[in-house]
Structure formats: C-alpha cells, structure tokens
Amino acid sequence: MYDGFDFDAYLTSQAAKLTGYCAAITGPADAEDAAQEAFLRLWQNLGRIPNEAAANAFLYKTAARVSIDLVRRRKRFREPDPAPPADDSLSSRMSGALAALKPEDRAVVWLRVVEECGYDEIARRLGRNEAWARKRYSLARRKLETILAERPKGDSPCTNTTVN
C-alpha cells in the first residue's frame, strides 16, 4: 500500500458500511464474522494493493465471497433460521422478500440502493462486468416485485408496494 495509508482509520471509516453490506448478504447473525474476515484479508494483502480504490474493490469483493460462502455453509450444515413472526407491515414483508433473494443479488441491491453505487462500481466491487450487475439488479428488483405482489390472504391492496 502507498505510504501514509492508515489502516486503522480506514477500518473505522468502513466498518459500518461493510458490516451492513455483509449483513445484507448473510443476515445479521453472520455479518460480523464475514466483515472481520474481509478486513483481515485486506490487511494481509496490503502489500500488493496500490491505493484506496483498489483496497475498496478488494474489501468488497472479499466480503461478498466470504459472506456468500457463509450463507452456503449455513444452508448446508444448519437448519434454516426460524422465520420472523408474521407481520403484515411493509417493512416486514420487504424483509421477507429480501431473504428470498440470492445472497449475491442482495449484495447488488444493497450497493445500488443503500450505497447508491453505479453499475460500474457494483461490477468492480463484485469482480464482475457492468452488464452482469445491471442484469442481476434488474432480476432482483423483478423478483422483489413478484414476491411483494403475492399478498397474504386477507391483506388489503396496497398501492405503494410496487418495486420498479
């Protein structure tokens, strides 16, 4: 890494963002482990990372990989997490819909919606190309829309749940 790079300051500035990002992929239970692992791998590889932009790319790509691995491992070795209590609120239903997405799609949606990244930045952070990022985001949004459109029985029509 270039001279003057302060890893600790970088850690402090990125911890909240990265933890949220990992949580979007894994759910909150495994997010801290994934984020820690990603930061440590960055620290171990600082010698070959030339600048902060490269550090960001490395960090997010590693975080995505570690998080997705954790999700797969959990899926394979553990019972699924118990479903949250039934709740018809939009927020709760939206959470349920997010949980139904593939982990990588959740990462894309998080970067696009929360961090407001462009597709080129999403692609860079996930080690993909822009077309892939655009396609995944579009599919994920469509899937969210489909899931949210499937209203539970007795639910009244809600005009503002459509996701573009």
Binding site: A16, G20, A23, P28, K61, R65, V113, N164
Partner: protein, 622 residues
C-alpha cells in the same frame, strides 16, 4: 431518491439491524494484534532470509506475519488435509508436504520406484524425495535408453493416484519416433506420451468381461456391459430410478479397480519431449482407424492433474514424411489387419493434442507451466484437430491455473487450451443438481447449431413454473413426484434424461464402499480424492451426484444440450463458479496475454506466490 427506492432502502437497513460495526472493528484490531505478536515471536528467519524487509513499513512485516500464521496452521493440520492438497484450490491449507507415507499408499523414493509404478497401475503412490535423471540414463546403454516409457497406456491405464507431494522430478526425457508412436497406440486409436501415458479412473468400467444388470422396481435392464438408459429402450430411466444398483457377476474377472486417474502436487523441471508423428488413415474391413496423438509432460491423457508445475520443459511434436506413414500401414498389416491405404499421408485425419501440462485432461486445477511448445505439422495438409494449448490440449475444466511459456505451432493454438464444450460435469453437489433439474424440467426441442446448444422452453409459463418448484422445495430426486402430483405430466422429460445418467451418493456411502472393498463402479466410480478435486467445499458433508462413468461421448453431447439450454448465455460456467464446482474455465490465465494479471476473483495468496514478473508458484514448491 425514488419513493420505491426509499422504501427498499429502509427495508434493507431494517434487515441488517443487529450486526454491530463496533464489534467488527474491535475484533479486527484484536486479531491483528494477535498476528503481530505471533509474527514477533517468529520473525528471525524472515529477517535472515531477507534483511531488506526490515526497512519496509509495518504492513510488510504484517504480510510476512500472516504468512507465518498460515504456514504454521497448514503444517499443524497437514496430516488430515494433505491428500487433498491443491485439489482444494481456493482453500488456504495447501502449502506443505507429508514426511511419512500414509497408510495404504506406496512411497516413491528413487527413480527405480518410479519406474516400478507400471507394475501395479492401480495403487496409490506418493513421492518422498526430489528425483533427478542423468542425461546418461537416456543414452545407449542407459537405464532408459531411447527415452522414458510413459506409465500406462489406453489399454492398461494408470488408474491410481500419484501424489508428487511437493517434490520435483528433474531431467525427464521422452523421445518417440513415428514407429514408436504407432506401436504405442495399442488400442488402435491413440498414442499417449508424458510421464504418464494414460491415467484414467473410468477405464475399468469399459472392461468387456463384465455384464451389468441394472434393476429398478422389477424392470430388469440387462445390458451388454454398458448402462445405456437412453438408447436401449428408447426412453430414459426416470429420475426416481436414481437408486439403480448394479449386480456384479462374480464369475467375471475384475480387471481394473479404483477411483484414480489423478496426478497431483508434482513439479517437473528441465525435461524434454520430442515426438515424431506420421499421421495415416487406415481403412480396415469394418472400421476406420486413425491415430490420435496426446502429448504433455505430466501425462498424454489424465483425468485430473492438480497442483502440478512444469518449469523449463520443452515439448516438440513434428509431423514426419510419407515413408513413416507407409511404415505405419505396414505395421497394421503385420498385426493382421487386411488394410487398404489411400493417400495415407497428406490427407490423413490427424488429431494432435499437445499441452504444456497434459495432452488431453478432464480437469486441470492449480497448475502452472512455462513449457516451450513447438508443433510442426509438416507436410500434412489436413490437420483435422490440431489442439495445442499452454496448459492442456483439450480440457473440460481448467481453473486457478497459469501459463507463461512459448508456443510455436503451424497448426494453430488455443491459449491455455481448448475447453471442451460438449462435456458434462462428472460430479455435482445435490443442491446444484436440484437447480439444473428444475431449470431443465420444461425444456424441449434441443438442438446444436454453429457450436452452440440451444433449446426451447416448453412451457409458456416456464418462469412461474420453475419458481413454483423452487418454492415448493422440489429437488432433483423429488421432481417427478411433484410434477405428477400437480398435473405437470409434460414436464420433466429433459430433466429425467439428465438424471438417468447420475447416481446420487453421499461421501459416507463412498467411504463405506471403499472400506468394504466394494466395486466402486456401482457407486459411479468416484473416490473421495476425485470428489474433492471436483468440488471445493468439504466433501464429507455433501450429497452429490456422480456421472455414470460408462456414459459415452455422444451421450455427453445430449446431456450437454440439456444443461446449456437450461443455462443460456454461458451462465452455467458462472453458476459453477458461484457454487464452487470446478467445471469450465475460470481463474485460469494465459500470462503471455495478460502479464499484469491482477489475480482477482479468488484468494490467490492462499496457495500461490509470485515473485516480481515471474510465473506463479504454488507455495508447496517454495
């Protein structure tokens, strides 16, 4: 911000509540402090090795410290994981050697031991020392005068496992005249050259002396030695017949046993291979025979080459003249074939498969080569399959591997190698197979055009139907049951066809079969080593589907159509990469084309190291 985005953002922020960034920050700081303490305790040898490092900033020391930790952990865990070294390409425990021969393995300490492998082609071997040939070994009067004879050929393949254990074999010389090539083509069709000639696990499945009886619910399918669910009855065995079993005929001789065909963790340096080849087409009464040449330093053909490195090695293949071709025809005449020979040389159906690691190989994983390859097809005007590649001539899978040599070929080249598109995965984790089966359930009208398999979605509401299958938790094994129960009688045809070729197995079942000395063919001829090599995660807790090793090449084509149609736009390779299935080509680089390759996409540092401007080297060989 759009209203919908705001709602989604709020939902996302709610979704992630509970994960605490402060704990993350503190945890990282604590881990770094711990690694720095470890580094301080262990740094003397680092300083001795490279005093300049002391002048670097603390991050350089930290990188070194991390390496120490990784190495220490790997050494401590060594006995348990070494059989899988480098097969687990993206894992970090791939960096040390065994110092004792494990139970059930044969230690190779000398070149004589190496040569003796050909006396028992089905055992598992482990190299316990660096070995070096002398030039005089290959001269007249030397112990390998004329050049090394490859271990195993197509008729009698090496079907065990050879673990190079991080050791080096230096100075191997392989030479073959056109006549040698003819005589080596014992199975009438191929001549294989390398340290190993032909290394394949599945070859024993084609032993003629076997009768196999596949039974399913009273339906007795009595084949003629081949399980052929598609052709014999004109329809596939349904997916719920995955529990087929094979009844062995104890009166027949079992010639080949074992789930091998694996060469791994071996470094070849300072060797040469010089093959002359006179292609010819021979028309025999009931078949037409051409010779295919497979050449590569590690093996002419191998099922799996893992964690191998080829350095300072040259491979030269030269097409020679008509006289040699005519001599070949005469050779077959001497073997009793009443041949006719038509313009034997210039119009020959030449198949020349040359690679910097291996000629043809199902899977190359975590290999590196700087092999200098020279191919001269000579006067041959019709070169039907000149497959020349830096890592392999032809491969079904090539992952986390590097080539940085030179290729001079008048018959063309394919960079790291030609990736066979009409192959199919030999092993798939159950959840991956579930997804394939669901996607394939409503496909129809598959076709192949211009090198691309295409398909038509049979059901208009395909997406809704497949999504319904996922939501209902349908798996490959329960697909038929669900389709029947829901009146989707037209679905499932292609999925069933695919599934008919795969056995569903657990690692425990395979282990049990191994322990009981059961014929592995009934389990789909898979060893745990092989399973591990094809799938990165810990295989012990994974249920997987194994391709019937008797599946024929043309059937690969059928199955490949189904998979390709289910995953259009090349998505299947992405799907494999995302699920850690080693199939297709990814994270494999031709460094000639991309010298500044950033090695992004996987954890390069886990098993690789690279000095400035040099070829990546597996840590095992450092």
């Amino acid at each position: 911000m759009h209203e919908h985005d705001r709602e989604l953002k709020e939902a996302l922020e709610t979704y992630v509540l509970g994960a605490d960034p402060v704990r993350v920050r503190d945890g990282v700081r604590a881990s770094i402090r711990a690694e720095q303490r470890t580094a301080n305790e262990r740094t003397p040898w680092i300083r001795k090795e490279n005093p300049m490092k002391r002048k670097k900033n603390w991050t350089a020391i930290a990188v070194a410290a991390a390496l120490v930790v990784i190495l220490t952990a790997a050494v401590a865990a060594a006995p348990a994981i070494l059989n899988y070294l480098n097969a687990r390409a993206v894992q970090r425990d791939s960096v040390s050697r065994l110092t004792q021969v494990p139970d059930g393995w044969i230690g190779v300490y000398t070149i004589e031991d190496l040569d003796a492998i050909r006396e028992d082609l089905g055992a598992n071997y482990i190299l316990m020392a660096d070995l070096a040939f002398e030039e005089s070994d290959f001269e007249d009067g030397g112990r390998f005068a004329g050049g090394w004879t490859p271990i195993g050929d197509r008729k009698n393949p090496f079907f065990g496992i050879f673990n190079g254990n991080g050791h080096t074999l230096d100075g191997l010389v392989i030479r073959a005249s056109a006549e040698d090539v003819f005589e080596n083509s014992a199975s009438y069709s191929s001549s294989c050259w390398g340290l190993f000639g032909y290394a394949a696990y599945s070859e024993y499945m084609t032993v003629e002396s076997y009768d196999q009886h596949v039974a399913e619910d009273g339906l007795d399918l009595n084949g003629d030695g081949i399980i052929d669910p598609l052709d014999q009855y004109g329809q596939p065995i349904r997916a719920d017949a995955v529990g087929v079993h094979v009844i062995l005929d104890p009166t027949k001789e079992l010639k080949h046993w074992g789930g091998g065909g694996i060469v791994k963790n071996l470094r070849l340096t300072g060797g040469t291979m010089a093959i002359e080849y006179a292609p010819v087409k021979v028309n025999a009464p009931d078949n037409m025979t051409t010779v295919s040449l497979y050449a590569g330093p590690v093996a002419g053909y191998a099922d799996h080459v893992l964690g191998c490195m080829v350095e300072d090695f040259s491979v030269t293949v030269t097409g020679t003249g008509e006289d040699d071709a005519r001599a070949y025809a005469e050779y077959w005449e001497r073997q009793g074939f009443p041949i006719t020979m038509e313009e034997p040389y210039r119009r020959a159906g030449l198949t020349m498969i040359v690679g910097g690691v291996a000629g043809e190989v199902y899977q190359i994983d975590s290999c590196a080569a700087d092999t200098a390859i020279t191919v001269r097809a000579g006067e041959v005007q019709t070169v039907s399959r000149p497959l020349v590649g830096g890592l392999g001539g032809v491969m079904a899978a090539c992952v986390t591997s590097y080539y940085d040599g030179t290729i001079s070929s008048d018959a063309g080249e394919y960079g790291i190698g030609f990736i066979r598109k009409d192959d199919v995965p030999r092993l798939l984790p159950a959840d991956v197979m579930d997804e394939i089966a669901i996607r394939a359930a409503f496909l129809d009208n598959l076709s192949y055009q211009d090198g691309v398999f295409t398909g038509k979605v049979y059901a208009d509401d395909y997406e809704a139907k497949t999504e319904a299958l996922r939501k209902a938790g349908v798996t490959a094994a329960t697909l038929n049951e669900y389709l029947d129960a829901n009146g989707m009688h037209d679905g499932g045809w292609q999925a069933n066809k695919l599934m008919a070729f795969y056995y569903k197995r657990t690692a425990a079942e395979v282990r049990e079969a191994l322990a009981e000395d059961t014929w592995l063919g009934s389990l789909g001829a898979v060893s745990l080593d092989m399973a591990q090599s094809l799938y990165t995660d810990d295989i012990n807790d994974v249920t997987f589907y194994v391709l019937d090793p008797d599946t024929k090449q043309r059937e690969y084509g059928e199955l490949s159509k189904i998979i390709s149609a289910a995953f259009p736009d090349g998505d299947f390779e992405d799907f494999c990469r995302e699920n850690h299935v080693k199939y297709g080509a990814y994270y494999a680089y031709d460094l000639r084309e991309d010298p500044e390759c950033a090695f992004e996409g996987f954890d390069f540092g886990a098993i690789w190291t690279r000095e400035e401007g040099g070829l990546p080297v597996p840590r095992l060989f450092k």
